[in-house]
Subunit: 179 residues, 2 copies
DNA sequence: GTAATAGTACTCGGATAGTAAGTGTCCGAGTTAACCGGG
DNA sequence: CCCGGTTAACTCGGACACTTACTATCCGAGTACTATTAC
């Protein structure tokens, strides 16, 4: 139905959140997921995919969490999409042309089917066009666009939310429980 | 995995075949399918979809068959793709932005989420680019490209194959059986 | 005071369901044209 | 000679099974930091 599924959408929003989070806060996968009510376990898996692609770097352990592995200006939407859905192709040529009945009986499909199928070629051109478009958009641009729309109050409260999560994480095992 | 699946590939090749078939031969869905060893029943379904989209016109009955409903010069690859996979989108926005925890407790997501999501906008731009590319390519161009690669002999034999199919269809119930 | 231990909150990776869409098949119904036999 | 019935070969449309990939969840294992405890 759609080439890029929920994975790409989740990943993109998570990265936007990560780029907007307070500097050095290193939110955990749970933080990032719950902030936008995404399935936590699923986001966890996405994070490891993003890490493999070199977009984020994680730190393990009790104070662990995620942070961008490169400046947001350099991270393109194409890179994000390919990180979590590397197999996404506009079209997969099954080489129908070579199945023609003309070939089967006597002479094999040699010269006539040489090179790339015309239809496949057109599809590849279209795919290249869409990728070119996606590679133009960077995470930084997207964050700027979102920030321009949102209120200052929203930003402040979001930052506070993340700081609260991090703080809560730390104090939770100095004092065992809290009201 | 791929936005455009086998349906689009089959449809495209069938239309190429149809455009290349002898004038007035009106091949049946079976003819078109067997010519390239495609699943017959499936091609039949595709043909009705292509008809609904106005790309081909069918004639029922014993001498029935299919023919292009418009000049091949006017039929774009985009039209073909959309005829059989109209739901194909590059990206389906689930409006994740509106699920943010910041909204749930007191104030609803009003102004900040107004307009289209930044990520969605970028995806739409990419989709538009690929569609633009596909709408540039016409069936006539594709047929020309294929014809340029194939031998004259291949063409002649293909035409003969179709004429044989049509002829066989007619004589098969003047003389009941044939050797 | 320093070192070993326990506990906490993460990440990591694989195994496993559930679900939706594409792919492919089958069957009955309707349509057109040719042929065949009766008037 | 003409006309209605029969048959053949299509199209049309819906119903159904199969496969695959995405989405989502769960669990055991590893890791880093902190606090506690023992020496």
């Amino acid at each position: 139905m759609a080439l890029y599924g929920a994975s790409v959408e989740y990943a993109a929003h998570v990265l936007v959140t990560l780029a907007s989070a307070p500097a050095g806060s290193a939110p955990s996968a749970s933080d990032l997921a719950e902030y936008q009510k995404l399935p936590v376990a699923y986001v966890r898996k996405l994070m490891t995919q993003l890490e493999k692609a070199g977009l984020v770097s994680g730190r393990e352990g009790i104070r662990g969490g995620w942070s961008l592995a490169m400046p947001a200006e350099e991270m393109t939407l194409l890179a994000i999409a390919e990180a979590v859905e590397s197999q996404a192709r506009l079209f997969l040529c099954r080489n129908v042309r070579a199945r023609c009945v003309m070939w089967s009986d006597d002479n094999p499909p040699s010269a006539a089917v040489a090179g790339i199928c015309e239809i496949h070629a057109a599809m590849l051109a279209a795919e290249a066009a869409s990728r070119r478009e996606l590679s133009k958009r960077t995470l930084a641009e997207i964050v700027r666009g979102i920030r321009a729309k949102s209120s200052r109050d929203f930003e402040v409260r979001s930052q506070a939310w993340f700081m609260d999560r991090v703080g809560r994480r730390r104090q939770s095992h100095s004092s065992q429980e809290q009201p």
